[in-house]
Amino acid sequence: MSVLAQQLVLGLLIGGLYGLAAAGLSLVFGVMKVLDVAHGELIMLGGYMAFFVVALVGLDPFVSLLVVIPLSLLLGLALYWGLFGFVVRADEETRVKNSLLIGFGLALALHALAVLLWTADERSIITPYGGTVLSVGDLSIPVVRLVSLGVAFALIGGLHLLLARWRWGKAIRATAEDWQAALLTGIDVRRAYLLAFAIGTGLAGAAGTLVTVGYSVSPSIGLEWTLKALIVVVLAGLGSMIGTFVGGLLLGVAEAASAAAFGGPYREVVGLVIFVIVLVVRPRGLFGR
């Protein structure tokens, strides 16, 4: 029993990162209607930024978020001006297609660049308190992952407030709802796109940092995280950041539960079954509007 409980707790802890990774993607997809399949590579870049900030400057990895998030925001601005800004000029059908093409090209290039610059080795951030474990009854909870879950939740909460209260947050939501109506009410839709993409990339950077602290980063983690994030986006549906986060937690717990029930090799099959059931029963997602 305690083994199962332990696995579920670990699933919950990684689920928070799934939620954070999915939040950025959900924002970009919901607002711009583009599918950024290079999102996982942006997470990977965030992970390396954190690794080098910690290694070279000597910051605490959680403090390094204060450097990594702004850097990622800038990266997002650059990518929007250089690439995705061209994509959103097209109509919605073409947008999805072109963003897929550019995303695959970008993912390929970023992966190759990371291998060239930093080799294909796995890296992880080692902290003095990295091995500390909190014992609650029979359960042992790694402190770093617990703090990561808290940070992820705080970031999602912050994003939720930002979208609810901030002038441009409301503009972003209005654009997501109906960009033509938003345009008619005088909202600068292009600016909303730019902000959504930059914030999405910032969230990817934050997710990358937490991945590198709690787990590890290598140039090839991108696709895996893109896919986890996409699954969560479909599971949770669009429109609510809190819902996306909860969707991430659910996926983490579901994976852990099925690994415990059916053994490692078949755990993804259970994920498949859950995924298909949600698609059939509720195509707009669990929390989708």
Binding site: F29, K33, L35, L83, F86, A90, E92, E93, T94, V96, K97, N98, L100, L101, I102, F104, G105, L106, A107, L108, A109, L110, H111, A112, L113, L116, L223, L227, L230, I231, V233, V234, G264, P265, Y266, E268, V269, G271, L272, F275, V276, L279, V280, P283
Partner: protein, 311 residues
Amino acid sequence: MRRLAGSHERKWAAAILLALALLALLPLAAPRDDLLNFVFLILLSITLAQSWNVVAGYAGQVNLGHAAFFGLGALVARTLWIGGTPIAGAMAAGALIATLFALLIGVAAFRLRGAYFAIGTLALGEILRTTVNNVLSEISTLPTTTIGAYRLTHRYYLALALAAVSVLAVAALAGSRLGLGMRAIREDEEAAEATGVGALRLKLTALALSTGLAGLAGGLFAFYHISYYPSHPFSPHWTFDALLMTFIGGVGTLHGPVLGAVLYVVLKEYVALRWVDFHLLIFGALFIAIVLLLPGGLVQAAQRVRRLVAR
């Protein structure tokens, strides 16, 4: 509005088949393994791109889980073939299983529209790949007796035949009522339904044809390679390759995927030879540039040039 099937498409079909017929002479004219392997890769790519083109180009459903059906075809064909079934039967069985699985998944997946369909299929394909990777982690190698009897030309001619089959299948589809209905769904699903087109049935038909061809291509892959990891043909890069080749050439046309496959393979091999260390970086950047500069693919670029010249 694209031109509907007519003399234009028939001309292209004839030209492509003629080119394929000429390639049949290649093993006699230049029996060099490196050349045959290179052309084999182009032919396999044409089949794969054309198979993806059926569901994405004609029916307008961007299937990002295409590798799953290529992989299933390879898995079933390889298992049966090594078990003693003749390769033709093994490949047919692989295509059948891929198609049946697609229909099973399709009923659920087609509840999703547009980008959601793309995401859903990507996730389904990836889940299948991970499972195959977990369950069959051992490398699959041919028995020594089979390796001894290995003839590259057999694989080459099979690839040639499959490429021809895929082009003929798409040409037949393009000129039929079925293809017309699929294009109606692509342009506007609601309007198509309103005029009496059974959207789900047609989308499933497109998916069945598409995945059947992909399953055959997977069988060819299994027949060609001496050893590979069973999860390799499930890798999403097969989907991406098919997608990239189709879009580079021109999606929803007969000749676009063929031209795209040729350009893509030639470009990729050239860049890989020329810049060994940087080739993926350069290829990725080059690819983005092509997408930004030629948004409608080679086919549309050629039309534009023709219009400019005609002026």
